[in-house]
Amino acid sequence: MADRIAVSGLTKAFGPKHVLEGVDLRVAPGESLVIIGGSGSGKSVLLKIILGLIKPDAGSILLDGQELVGLKGRAQEAARARFGMLFQGGALFDSLPVWRNITFALTKGKLGEGKAMHALAVRVLAQVGLEARVADLKPAELSGGMQKRVALARAIAAKPEILFFDEPTTGLDPIRADTINALIREQVTALGATAITITHDMASARKIADRVAMLQDGKIIWEGPVSALDSSGNPYVDQFVHGRAEGPVATAITG
């Protein structure tokens, strides 16, 4: 099948700091890809570039064969409307109550349809394991883990075809994290969404992923089916999967 997203030769530097140095990555429709990689390796930057929030220095991003790099105006808006994103920091609108946050993409920030939207927000909150009363709170009144789950609810509420999750389970207890893993898996398996998830949590990666890719030194240094994770034969991946301090990754960071 044709790729939903095909990234090739993507580079990005911030001043003298080269973050991405030729990233090639493909995601098929209905596939769940997990990206792993050291802190600061450029995972979040990669997702933001695909969404058009950061301009790449070079490279190409095809969405169903359509070039996204350099896309502007209505065409860019139309392409973006197909994506939903959970930001690493949540990025909830702190001036709006939780339910307005969750339904923001559906109402495009407009008021009106209050009752229906509130009810919808309560339903999505239940999916991420939060009670109905949370809907009427402001984001500042929530714990960190609750904020993360509200942000997740906001990302999936409009049922976008392509979902990006930047560390969805960070800061959650293991039981809640497993609810989220199941929910992300359901988006892909039951609703047919295409997903890219960034995570440091290997248990989560195993539950969510069809395929895993590792970003290191600005490049995808390994990718393969999740079943190959333990037999990758790649020392970087091995070290990451087993969480060892010694190995090539540590050398790369300190050296």
């Binding site: 969404l51 920091g89 990025a91 609108f93 702190d94 920030g109």
Partner: protein, 263 residues
Amino acid sequence: MPAVDTLLKPLIALGAFALGMLAVVGRLAIFAVQAIRRAATPPWYPARLLEQMALIGWFSLPVVGLTALFTGAALAQQIYVGGQRFSAESTVPAVTVIAIVRELGPVLAGLMVAGRVSSAMAAELATMRVTEQLDAMVTLRTDPWRYLIAPRIIASSMMLPFLVLVANVIGVLGGYALATGRLGFNAAAYLSTTRRYLETEDIVSSLVKAAVFGFVLALAGCYHGFRSSGGAAGVGRATTDAVVSAFVLILLFNLIITILVFN
């Protein structure tokens, strides 16, 4: 050669400063054009506009009113004392109303509102930038230019004329209160002189200034907030820069409009 160096260094610094200012003016102008283009095309957000109008118009009333009252009274006192030297004390009502409506009303209201509003806009937008709320909004099918910036700029341009009108009335009344209460002016005569010297042109230029000040003070707030970076320190910098830019722009445009209208 050290002598040449000491001569050149300040010149070079001055040149760099001038270039920097020019660059800021250019970027602000581009920002303004983009903001106007976005504000002129749908989708519009009436609820956001009303919210900003209340925030800017209603909640600025106390500070604008107080400033105008005290300044109007002080002005009348000064004109009286100054006028005594050429036995021109009777010019108090005429000079007060002209000074307030043409200059002090719009400028003082503009500066006071800029202190309140430009800083608040910059802080809010900069915080949203730092916490990725602006990025998130884009991914939620909403254009931050239209949702956040357009309502602020439109509301500010609309509410400043209203505030300046209030400032003008209260400023004149401040002068009136002091002149009749302390300086022994006849109340009816003071008001009729005020009315006689006040021309339509004065009021129109006052309101034009107000609209322009409203536009630039919101522009400065949005510009510095929107393009801020660098965490909490960046938010602080954006806030300060916004107020300084707004003040400079208001005083600059005041001079330009005054020269154009009253030459």
